[in-house]
C-alpha cells in the first residue's frame, strides 16, 4: 500500500505528509538538544568561576572554525542538489549530493582528529564537567551527522537513479526532506560552536 499525500498536499493541513512529518520530528529534535543546552547552562552556572573558560581553552578553535565552514558548505550543496532536481538535472544532483557527502565525511574526520587529540592528552568525559557536556553535545551531534550520511548515501547510490526515473516528483520530495534534516544538523552546530569553543 502506498503512503498517501507524498507529493500532493493534504486538503486539511495544506502540506504533504512527509513535510509535516519531518517538521514534527525536527520539533522533537529541538527539544532533545534544548534539554542538553539547558544542562550546559545549569552546569556552567554551578561550575567554579573560570572553570568552563579554562577547559574550553583546551579545544582547537581553528579546526572547529574549519568544521563550521565545512558544514555550512554542505548545507549549500544539499540545497543545490534539491534545486538541480527541480530543474530536472539529475547529473548535477549527483554532483552536489556527492559533494555534500564529501563535506560531511570531512566534518567527521576533523571531529575524529579533535577527539583523538583530546584522548592522547588524557582528556576524557570524566576529566571535568565541561568535557562531559562537550563530549555529550558533540557526540550526539556527530551521531546525527552519521544518520544524515546514511540517508544521503542511500539516495546517492544507483537506487536513487531508479527512484528518479520511476517517480521523479517523489524522489525530489525525499531529497527536500533529507535536506531539511541536514540544515537542522547545521543549525545545531551554529550554536554549539560558540558556546563550546569560544565562550
Amino acid at each position: 500500500m502506498q503512503i498517501p499525500y507524498t507529493t500532493e498536499e493534504r486538503p486539511d493541513t495544506g502540506l504533504t505528509n512527509s513535510k509535516l512529518g519531518i517538521w514534527v520530528f525536527l520539533a522533537s529534535e529541538i527539544m532533545l538538544f534544548g534539554g542538553l543546552f539547558s544542562a550546559y547552562v545549569f552546569l556552567r552556572l554551578a561550575a567554579p568561576e573560570g572553570d568552563f573558560a579554562y577547559w574550553g581553552s583546551k579545544l582547537n578553535v581553528p579546526l572547529a572554525t574549519l568544521n563550521t565552514l565545512v558544514l555550512i558548505s554542505s548545507s549549500m550543496t544539499v540545497i543545490m542538489s534539491w534545486a538541480s532536481l527541480k530543474m530536472k538535472d539529475f547529473k548535477k544532483y549527483k554532483l552536489y549530493m556527492g559533494l555534500t557527502l564529501l563535506f560531511s565525511l570531512i566534518f567527521l574526520c576533523i571531529k575524529y582528529v579533535e577527539y583523538t587529540s583530546k584522548f592522547d592528552h588524557g582528556y576524557f568525559p570524566s576529566s571535568s564537567t565541561f568535557l562531559a557536556i562537550y563530549f555529550t553535545l558533540t557526540g550526539l551531534h556527530g551521531l546525527h551527522i552519521l544518520g544524515g550520511i546514511i540517508v544521503m548515501t542511500y539516495f546517492w547510490l544507483p537506487i536513487g537513479n531508479k527512484m528518479w526515473h520511476t517517480e521523479p516528483e517523489h524522489f525530489t520530495d525525499r531529497i527536500e526532506i533529507a535536506g531539511l534534516y541536514w540544515h537542522f544538523v547545521d543549525l545545531v552546530w551554529i550554536f554549539l560552536f560558540p558556546i563550546l569553543y569560544l565562550l
Binding site: L15, W23, L45, L69, P194
Partner: protein, 100 residues
C-alpha cells in the same frame, strides 16, 4: 518544467549563494568577536546574537521557513516556547540557590 519555473529556481539559487556568503562572513566574525576585550556577559550576548542571525538565515532561506505554511510556523512557535522554558529553568534554580 516551464521557462518560468526554471527562472524561479535560478532566482532562488542566487539567494542561496548570498546566504552562503553571509554565513561564511558571520562565522569569521564570530571567531573575531571572541578575541575582543569585553566581559564574559557581553561576549556571551555577542556570540549568541551572531549565532541567532546565522540560524535565522539557515531556517528562513535554506529551510524555506519564510514562505512556509502557518501550520509549521505554529508548531515551531510552540516548540520554541518550551525551548525557552528549558533555557530558563537553570536560571530559576540559580536565583533560588542564591536567595535572590
Amino acid at each position: 518544467m516551464s521557462e518560468q519555473d526554471h527562472g524561479h529556481i535560478e532566482e532562488h539559487i542566487k539567494v542561496y549563494l548570498t546566504v552562503f556568503g553571509a554565513l561564511g562572513v558571520l562565522t569569521v566574525l564570530t571567531v573575531a568577536a571572541s578575541y575582543l576585550d569585553i566581559s564574559t556577559t557581553e561576549a556571551i550576548f555577542l556570540a549568541l546574537a551572531i549565532a541567532t542571525v546565522k540560524a535565522s538565515l539557515v531556517a528562513g532561506y535554506f529551510m524555506h521557513l519564510i514562505t512556509e505554511r502557518h501550520t509549521i510556523i505554529w508548531i515551531l512557535c510552540l516548540t520554541f516556547f518550551f525551548f525557552l522554558v528549558c533555557m530558563f529553568l537553570p536560571l530559576i534554580t540559580y536565583t533560588d540557590h542564591t536567595s535572590l
